[in-house]
């Protein structure tokens, strides 16, 4: 559904590639996620695939249409939910949908019918005649999704769809996207929430500085770091020193690093971990304030790949 070859964007007046020689392949029926911190190049990538950003070099096909060569045609095959609220403020909720149908060449009757159906499907019937100003963030986002899939696009693009939403609206939107996907909708989304990528996406590309650092299913990405347990230790001691001590004294530590003033250990196959850590810390004279043991997350994967945290 999406195919890119060496897709590159250098914005005029900058001396770096916002997106650097991207090769992507997204299949039909997939939910594909671009995960990366701010400035990674996610929006730029989505922008190039949706004709808003003109590639500096390389090629991109969406639904078989070359987006740079035939932008007007390419717009027929994609549905877009952008980062900001772009609803038409002068139209009510129902009209926002109806005119989208008209814009994409559907007749009045068809547009009316689909607008009604979508309002029901997205649980916005009660708001049909309301001004879009009256919608909460979550409802506005649902309406934008409904509008984007109105013309049955080959690919639905969502740029940071749940940024700024409350946890409940976020869950509701994940549910909506999951359902759309089960009905066959190919989805590409960008996010900097590792949890979103983890729970929603079939495959995730981890992106930083315009490049893809790793691309696989969330499960495979997590397996890939070669550790099955992540330990975070907070102690009243110099974290760098403590990290070195723990890496040496605790069995099974693959990597140790300092993040956010705490020591993080990637451990594989560790036995009696807590005991080992407490003893090692005691020997080093460090008072442990807090200790937590979790499974690896995509966040861990990102830190392993870049040495930085996903969130800034």
């Amino acid at each position: 559904m999406i195919h890119t070859e060496q897709l590159t964007k250098v914005y005029p007046g900058t001396d770096f590639a916002a997106v650097d020689c991207l090769d992507l392949e997204v299949g039909t029926g997939e939910i594909f996620g671009l995960l990366g911190p701010n400035g990674a190049g996610k929006t730029t990538t989505a922008g190039m695939l949706t004709t808003r950003v003109i590639p500096t070099s390389g090629r991109a096909l969406v639904g078989g249409v070359d987006v740079a060569a035939q932008p007007a045609l390419a717009k027929q095959v994609s549905g877009i939910v952008s980062q900001q609220n772009t609803l038409d403020r002068q139209l009510n909720v129902w009209e926002n949908l109806y005119f989208h149908g008209r814009l994409f060449g559907m007749g009045a009757t068809t547009s009316r019918r689909i607008a009604d159906e979508l309002l029901e499907q997205f649980q916005l019937e009660k708001w049909a005649q309301a001004s879009v100003y009256a919608l909460s963030g979550g409802m506005a986002q649902r309406l934008m999704v409904a509008r984007a899939i109105f013309h049955r696009p080959a690919v639905l693009f969502l740029d940071e769809p749940t940024a700024g939403l409350d946890p409940q609206s976020r869950l509701a939107l994940w549910e909506v996207l999951g359902q759309l996907n089960r009905d066959g909708q190919t989805i590409m989304l960008t996010t900097h929430y590792m949890e979103e990528a983890d729970r929603l996406c079939h495959r995730v590309a981890i992106m930083d500085h315009g490049k893809i650092l790793a691309l696989d299913t969330p499960a495979a990405l997590k397996r890939g770091i070669g550790a099955d347990t992540i330990v975070t230790v907070r102690a009243a001691a110099d974290p760098e020193q403590l990290a070195a001590v723990l890496a040496r004294d605790v069995a099974g530590v693959e990597r140790a690093r300092v993040a956010d003033g705490a020591v993080q250990l990637d451990v594989s196959g560790g036995q009696r971990l807590v005991q080992q850590i407490v003893l090692a810390a005691e020997r080093a004279g460090a008072d442990i304030l807090d200790l937590s043991i979790t499974e690896p997350t995509l966040e861990t994967v990102f830190i392993t790949l870049t040495g930085r945290e996903l969130r800034d």
Partner: protein, 298 residues
């Protein structure tokens, strides 16, 4: 929760029903998109019809009220001090000017102000440009609906100008339909084009600057209150500097054109008005569409 069955290895999932790609030719798609864009503007206009009427009518009403009613009543001289006859000939100059200025304000209001806002904080334009047509057509649709609103305002304004005046003060109207039917649309397109240029050049926070430094000089030096041919006495040495200076003002040609269309008073030659107005329209559209494209695409 949906997540449990949407995550997992993609290859192990049942292949979902493929969405049929039915691509329509760009020409067909563009044509229906243009229709929908215009329909949307029409619906919005209809929703705000009273605001539109008030907004359109208030300025011409005030102009006519002050210049053609209050001034003659209080004996304040406009019109060369020639009593009712002088006042009437001033009315004849002013009425077409009022039509011209209304067309211009419509272009600025319906396009420049809206667009600055849509580009600025509402970002609505982001969605509009996803219409399945070339980007320039989205801007062109705005120009067309702005021009149509300009023509509509001309229709609304003329009767007001003909009615609001003191007793004995009459504008001598002499409608020349072939000029009206050609020049009014051309003027509307040119002024809508001006609106597009302004709307794509100014950030919403700089709208005040736009009014102060562009709209105001254009309106006051655009021949609304005087005909171009009568400006020759303003000179330094032998040089009619004002008459020459205002030639760069597009509104001047619009107003002179309205003078030619609605009255038999002296006006700039039509051989000049038509081509210059067409040139302004073309230039504004070229600049406006280029700006629009630059603002939308990265």
């Amino acid at each position: 929760m949906a997540a449990s069955d949407v995550t997992g290895d993609v290859t192990t999932r049942a292949v979902p029903a493929r969405i049929e790609l039915q691509l329509r030719p760009v020409l067909t798609a563009s044509y229906s998109a243009l229709g929908a864009l215009l329909l949307r503007d029409l619906v919005v206009l209809w929703k705000d019809k009273w605001v539109f009427v008030l907004r359109t009518v208030i300025q011409p009403f005030l102009l006519c009220f002050v210049f053609l009613y209050v001034f003659p009543k209080i004996g304040q001289g406009v019109g060369g001090g020639g009593g009712r006859r002088g006042e009437s000939s001033f009315a004849t100059v002013l009425v077409p000017g009022v039509v011209g200025i209304s067309i211009m304000f419509q272009g600025v209001q319906s396009i420049a102000l809206n667009m600055a806002q849509e580009f600025g904080f509402t970002r609505e334009i982001e969605d509009r440009v996803q219409a399945p047509c070339p980007i320039w057509l989205v801007a062109m649709a705005k120009v067309l609906s702005g021009a149509a609103q300009g023509a509509l305002s001309a229709v609304l304004v003329l009767p007001i100008a003909a009615v609001v005046h003191a007793a004995g003060v009459h504008a001598h109207l002499d409608l020349r339909w072939w000029i009206i039917l050609t020049l009014v649309p051309l003027a509307c397109i040119a002024m809508a084009g001006l609106g597009l240029v302004l709307g794509t050049s100014f950030e919403p926070r700089n709208i005040g600057l736009m009014f102060g430094f562009i709209i105001l000089p254009i309106t006051f030096l655009g021949g609304t209150y005087y005909g171009w041919t009568t400006l020759s006495p303003v000179r330094i040495g032998g040089f009619h500097w004002l008459q020459v200076l205002v030639l760069i003002n597009p509104l001047m040609y619009v107003n002179e054109g309205m003078r030619a269309a609605f009255t038999s008073s002296p006006h700039m030659h039509l051989y000049v008005i038509y081509p210059v107005m067409a040139a302004f329209a073309t230039t504004f559209l070229a600049i406006g569409l280029r700006n629009f494209r630059r603002r939308v695409l990265a």
